[in-house]
C-alpha cells in the first residue's frame, strides 16, 4: 500500500512531534571532571616514551654490563696460547685413531 500525500503529511507531523517531544537528559554533575580526567590520562599516555626510546634506554642501561663482559673476554683471549697448531699436534699425537683418520685425507 502506498500512502497518499495527506497521509504522508500526517505521519511526518506525528513523527516530528514525537521527535521534539523527547525530554532533554541532564548529565551528571561531575561530567566536566570526568572528561578532564580522561583528557589528563590521555595526555600522560600520549607523552609516554615510544618503544624505540624505551629500547634505547634499555640498551644504555645494559652498557656497563656489556662493557664488563667484553673486558673479561679480552682478558681470556689474551691468556690463551697464540699458537694453537702446537696444541692440535699434541692432541693428534696422543690420539692415534684421529691421526689415522687424518692420514686418509693425506694430511
Amino acid at each position: 500500500m502506498r500512502f497518499a500525500k495527506d497521509e504522508k503529511k500526517k505521519i511526518r507531523d506525528a513523527f516530528i512531534n514525537a521527535h521534539h517531544q523527547k525530554e532533554p537528559v541532564p548529565v551528571s554533575r561531575d561530567f566536566p571532571q570526568q572528561v578532564m580526567k580522561r583528557i589528563r590520562k590521555m595526555e600522560i599516555d600520549d607523552n609516554a616514551p615510544s618503544y624505540t626510546i624505551r629500547f634505547e634506554r634499555l640498551v644504555w642501561r645494559m652498557a656497563p654490563a656489556a662493557f664488563c663482559a667484553i673486558l673479561v673476554l679480552c682478558l681470556f683471549i689474551m691468556n690463551m696460547n697464540p699458537t694453537p697448531e702446537y696444541e692440535i699436534a699434541q692432541l693428534v699425537g696422543s690420539d692415534p685413531i684421529t691421526y689415522d683418520f687424518l692420514q686418509l685425507y693425506g694430511k
Binding site: 506525528a14 532533554p24 580522561r38
Partner: protein
C-alpha cells in the same frame, strides 16, 4: 552581536591557551558548550547513552583542537563533531548487532491508524499517542542504516536544509539530497508494509 564577537574571541583565547599546554583551560570551554552538545546528542541517541556519547564528543574535540581554524566559530565546529559522533555511535551499535533486539512494536497497526486518523482528544490521549508515535518512529529508524537514520533525523524530522546537514555530517549537498530522498522512501515503504500486514 558584540557579545557574540566577545564570546568568539574568548573561545579563541581559551583554545590558544589549551594548545599552548594549559590543558585545564579546556574545562571552561566544555562547561560553556555542554548544554549545546547534550541538546544535539539527546535528539539522536537513547537517553541512557547520551552521557557517554557527549563525553566522546568533548574528547574528540580536544584531540582535533589543533585542526580547528582560528578564524571560524567553535559552536558549529563542535556541533558537527557531535552529529558525527552520533552517527559513529549508531555504526558501532549496528556492527555489534544490538539493533536486532528492537522488535516490532506491539499493536503497530493500531498506532499507524491512530496517526493517520489524527485523533486529537484529551491532553492525556495526545501524550499517549505521541509516545506511541515515538515508539513507531524508533522502530522504523532502527531499520535504516546509520547514515540514512542521521539524514532522516536531521532533514526530515529537524527540518535542516541540505546545506546545513551537509556541513554537520561532512558530506556533499548532493549526497544529502539523494540519501534523504531514498531514506524517506524506505521509511514510508517500511510503514506501508506494517500497515498492510
Amino acid at each position: 552581536m558584540i557579545s557574540d564577537a566577545t564570546s568568539i574571541s574568548h573561545d579563541l583565547e581559551v583554545i590558544r591557551r589549551v594548545l599552548s599546554g594549559e590543558v585545564n583551560a579546556y574545562e571552561s570551554l566544555m562547561t560553556k558548550y555542554l548544554k549545546h552538545v547534550t541538546s544535539i546528542v539527546y535528539k539522536h541517541i537513547p537517553p541512557q547513552e547520551v552521557e557517554e556519547v557527549a563525553q566522546d564528543v568533548f574528547i574528540r574535540a580536544y584531540r582535533s583542537l589543533k585542526t580547528f581554524k582560528q578564524k571560524s566559530e567553535f559552536k558549529p565546529w563542535i556541533s558537527s563533531i557531535a552529529v558525527r559522533a552520533c552517527c559513529d555511535h549508531w555504526r558501532r551499535v549496528y556492527r555489534s548487532k544490538e539493533i536486532l533486539l528492537s522488535s516490532l512494536p506491539e499493536n503497530y497497526r493500531e498506532r499507524m491508524e491512530a496517526i493517520l486518523s489524527e485523533q486529537s482528544g484529551a491532553p492525556d490521549d495526545r501524550e499517549r499517542q505521541q509516545k506511541k508515535a515515538r515508539e513507531l518512529l524508533d522502530w522504523a529508524l532502527n531499520q535504516l542504516s546509520p547514515e540514512d537514520r542521521m539524514v532522516v533525523e536531521l532533514v526530515y524530522l529537524e527540518g535542516l536544509s541540505g546545506k546545513e546537514a551537509a556541513t554537520l555530517l561532512g558530506w556533499s549537498v548532493a549526497n544529502i539530497k539523494i540519501r534523504s530522498f531514498r531514506a524517506r522512501k524506505k521509511l514510508y515503504r517500511l510503514l506501508s508494509r506494517l500497515d498492510r500486514s
